[in-house]
Amino acid sequence: MNIYVLVKRTFDTEEKLVISGGKIQEDGAEFIINPYDEYAIEEAIKVRDEHGGEVTVITIGGEDAEKQLRTALAMGADKAVLINTEDDVEELDQFTSAYILAEYLKDKEADLILAGNVAIDGGSGQVGPRVADLLDINYVTTITSLTIEGEKVTIVRDIEGDAEELETSLPLLVTAQQGLNEPRYPSLPGIMKAKKKPLEELELDDLDIDEDDVEAKTETIEIFMPPAKAAGRVLEGDISAQVTELVGLLKNEAKVI
């Protein structure tokens, strides 16, 4: 089976975030594989181990994203592709990302493409379904279970807490929701092997993409921190006095009841 995983290098949002000069400060920040993409990688490896074939992880990003690709290879992916846009495009939105990924994938005859359901930094959840539409293949989002028998695919997906059971077929793109599996940690031998696995680096030219074709359709004009809340008030005194005070504050100050 020919399996591809879309992997995004993201800012680790568990870490402190600083904005300066209108941009998120990236120096010294922690970067990780988008957590939902880890579920996608794990599932891809499992499907390959059961049905045979090859897992290729792809990312659009700069040189730095090689680290996340090597981690995916160490987990067990076979090959990696870095589409380096650093020199070509300054502004990249979901339209751009999906277009580039689809251009790469269009002649690969993928049976199964896995993505995360959402990136924890950009947070739009658009890229998976957009890529599927451009490739004219079916997609199923926020999946928590995947079973493949021949061409037949049985899936359980999370829809706002309810579980939807459905049937579809390959070729297919799915996006991973938490609960799909427990991603493995790269083993030491895995890390050693990963160093020798192929990592191909491409630029837009290699994909015959013209910069004008991928011009972003949206524009971020400002990034800002949420309006600083008045510092939260931790109440004091004995518990019953605190409870009385809290109810008074909710009624009279916050006016929410």
Binding site: I120, D162, T168, K251, I257
Partner: protein, 321 residues
């Protein structure tokens, strides 16, 4: 220039979801005086048309087909594209719901437009509309502008106030669309969500975490929620420990809520949890650990044992209500 805006209406368990009314309000702003047209897709939805008009839609278009009874991206996109072809809108507004999240990127891709997802606020009107959305798990926000011909957004439920309901009149028409070649067959939906108040639209949410320690431990939270007309929610920790079903999970993986009042009891405040509730208007934290991260986003905090505090709170609310 004024715009014609198409709005996707959504139903759930036999009634319209609030987010459909909120989307009409958002569309009014974006339209800059233009026309707002609500779209309803399903097997039998025409009866909901009048209510959308009362909430501010100028017109309603319904597409009814047996294949639209359950949502599939193929069925809904065929129906929606047929409406778009007929109406030629300059803007589109969907809810950032399970359906909206799944469908909007496909429609945006077909129209070759940008899509601004999970919008919580709109500044300006008409051509000057600028959209605000949370990024980095809610730690920051961005202002985004559309550069193309069609403004396409999804809105986060409970953030943009609906217009006041009034008796109004407007045209409800139907469009017949041939829905073919569905590549997904829905076999079954296991309903797990609780009866009663819809968590993502609740005005009051009482959420419990691992600190609640058992399924029975949620009883006092439920009692308080019932008193305040709210819903019970939970952290991943409480769901993983099997105290409550995953359908109550709030956060990045679960539901995103923006109630007027959010009470977090025995929840530490991990970023993935905050991503689902930090936009709440007023946040109360009850935790026995004064260092817990949840206090950083709380408006009011009580350091103490939730099993002592919650029942006392219920009694105290009873006195003032």
């Amino acid at each position: 220039m004024s715009k014609k805006v198409l709005v996707l209406g959504e139903t759930r368990e036999g009634s319209l979801r609030n987010v459909s009314f909120e989307a009409i309000a958002a569309a009014k702003k974006i339209s800059g005086g233009g026309e707002v047209v609500s779209v309803l897709l399903g097997d039998s939805v025409a009866d909901f048309g009048a209510e959308l008009i009362n909430y501010g839609a100028d017109r309603v278009i319904t597409v009814e087909h047996p294949h639209l009874k359950s949502y599939t991206s193929d069925g809904y996109s065929q129906a929606m594209m047929a409406v778009i072809d007929q109406e030629q809108p300059q803007a589109l507004v969907f809810g950032h719901t399970a359906v909206g999240k799944d469908l909007s990127p496909k429609i945006a891709s077909k129209l070759q437009t940008g899509l601004i997802s999970d919008v919580t606020d709109i500044e300006g009107e008409g051509d000057d509309a600028v959209y605000i959305r949370p990024i980095y798990s809610g730690k920051a926000f961005e202002k985004v502008k559309n550069k193309g011909d069609i403004d396409f957004i999804t809105i986060r439920p409970n953030n943009i106030a609906p217009l006041e309901k009034q008796e109004r009149s407007g045209d409800v028409s139907s469009l017949s669309v041939d829905i073919t070649n569905l590549r997904t067959i829905i076999q079954n939906v296991v309903r797990k969500s609780a009866e009663g108040v819809d968590l993502s639209e609740a005005k009051v949410v009482i959420a419990g975490g691992r600190g609640v320690k058992s399924a029975e431990g949620f009883a006092p939270l439920q009692e308080l929620a019932d008193l305040l007309g709210g819903a019970v929610g939970a952290s991943r920790g409480a769901c993983d420990a099997d105290y409550v079903d995953y359908s109550l999970q709030i956060g990045q993986t679960g539901k995103v809520v923006t109630p007027d009042l959010y009470i977090a009891a025995g929840i530490s405040g991990a970023i993935q949890h905050l991503a689902g509730m930090s936009n709440s208007k007023v946040i109360v934290a009850i935790n026995k650990d004064p260092e817990a991260n949840i206090f950083k986003v709380a408006d009011y905090g009580i350091v103490g044992d939730l099993f002592e505090v919650i029942p006392m709170l219920t009694e105290e609310f009873k006195k003032v209500m």
